[in-house]
Amino acid sequence: MTAEPLLSLQDLTVRFRLPQGETVAVDGVSLDLAPGEVLGIVGESGSGKSQILYALMGLLASNGRAGGRAIFQGQDLLSLTEAQLDRVRGQDVSMIFQDPMTSLNPYTRVVDQLAEGLIVHKGLSKSDARAEGVRMLDRVRIPDAARRARLYPHEFSGGMRQRVMIAMALLAKPKLLLADEPTTALDVTIQAQVLDLMAELGRETGTAIILVTHDLGVVARLCDRVAVLYGGRVMEEAQAEALFDTPSHPYTRGLLAAMPRLEAALTPRLGTIPGTPRSGGGDLPGCPFAARCTERLDHCTTIRPPLLQIAPDRRSACHLTEKTLGAAP
């Protein structure tokens, strides 16, 4: 990664204060994102992947605190006030949420929800902003956009609502789009359409995308690069193809074994990772995956494996790879 990154996460942490003590959702994540790049963040439920996006948008729950730095175009998003953040949100950085059924305002016509951002941020007149909104709906392939724009969200199907969300997010031509499991709530047949649309429009506007998902198929389809998250830490980070071809981390291997493949012979069972996913909890000295890892070494539970560069464009946090590499370069 030689070019100046668009977004640079440096030791990002997210902690939540709970009645039973503090819990760590994101534990020192460092990632860079180049302009126009599509980065996938994969992990099981509770791995902290969505919280990274919420932290960037200043949308953490009220008991959540973000630490570390998130440098976007020279400013640290985490240190901005709410008012300063509002100059970034919806303009340079947009977000698409997981549940399109509830993420649109049920009391407002779709076109007015689209127009709102343009009116507030760009000072457009109401009619200009609406026209722009309709044009965008057309681009996300909502048939009969001019008429549909005047409907309310409950009159749209789930897939159409998510396309409205995409239209809304891309309307301001943001430099960065954060997508939090955008297709999880949709029918499988609609998922691919929505994803392709998002990627296509992203390419057209030169928007970089961080796509958070637990669906490796989605990652394989869209992402340039992938970071695998577990227990709030990056386990492995690689170019998408490299990750799928030669997974280096035991957790990545477990995830890939659990993924159904068309070309593989039909085995009676998919692979599973023993144990239950770690979610939250306090600080851990060792590797968060150690408790479930089949290739655990003695010091895995006591010493945290550093995220090491194991090849160009490739990092892994595992004592095993550390061993095979010998002394770190």
């Binding site: 970034v88 009391y107 951002g117």
Partner: protein, 307 residues
Amino acid sequence: MLRFIGKRLWHGGLTLAALVTLTFFVMRLAPGGPFSRNRKISPEVQANIEAAFHLDEPVWQQFGRFVWGVLRWDLGPSTKHRDYSVNDLIASGLPYSLTIGFWAIVIAALVGVALGLAGALKRNSATDYLAGTVGVVGIAIPIFVIGPLFQAYFSLRLGWLPVGGITEGWRSLILPVIVLALPNIAYISRITRTSMIETLRENHVRTARAKGVGWRRVLTSHVLKGALLPVIAYLGPATAAIITGSILIETIFAVPGIGRHFVDAALNRDYPLVMGITLLYGGILILFNIGTDVVRAVLDPRIRNER
């Protein structure tokens, strides 16, 4: 929308008709009548009086007479308040009940919503605790305790306001209005606070924040509408109940409204008055419910599409 209102009015009319019919016959099913008191009257006199009020006719005929009267806007003579028709009684009492009830509900809505919003936006702040305290006090302490306490303090001790009656114009209204508003302030502020906190957690509010349109705009155009819907749903029936008078308020503050007739009429077996009050309260309640539905349909497109 007009069709929606028309349909609701038609249903409301049917409901009212059913309510009135039921009340009419249930009243007469119970043993006794308006003139069967323990006083000794000769059977001839008793029969004469009953004939004067058509109580000697078969029940069906009496019902027909009542319905015919309603259609002519005439509810008949009161059997208890001699020389007064039910129309007179309602016309003389309703303005007082309406005035007190109207101001009470206006104050309750404004103060209640304000307290609820303040509490929800600044949770666990001083305002929130104040609103919570008002809520508990307003709901837990009944009107017949607060009323006399206020009279004792503001009227007798400080001498600011009249103890009761209606002789001092608007000054006479202040205490009854406040006492009647208090429990409603409590309910409304609690409904507002809960609903506001729920709405703030909704996904579409998060979307609005992600759009970066500013907190104030998020509140006014994305939160308030949804948060106030439950308040409006409460206000409709509550208003109907409050403006038709409260027997407690009218007794404590010696207001000649119609609230006292609710209980008196039933106890005295004053059939025409009971029917008049039932018709009035039922009609107002149904109208306000329809009004509430219309307002909610205007605010919420999902309700609009349901019907």
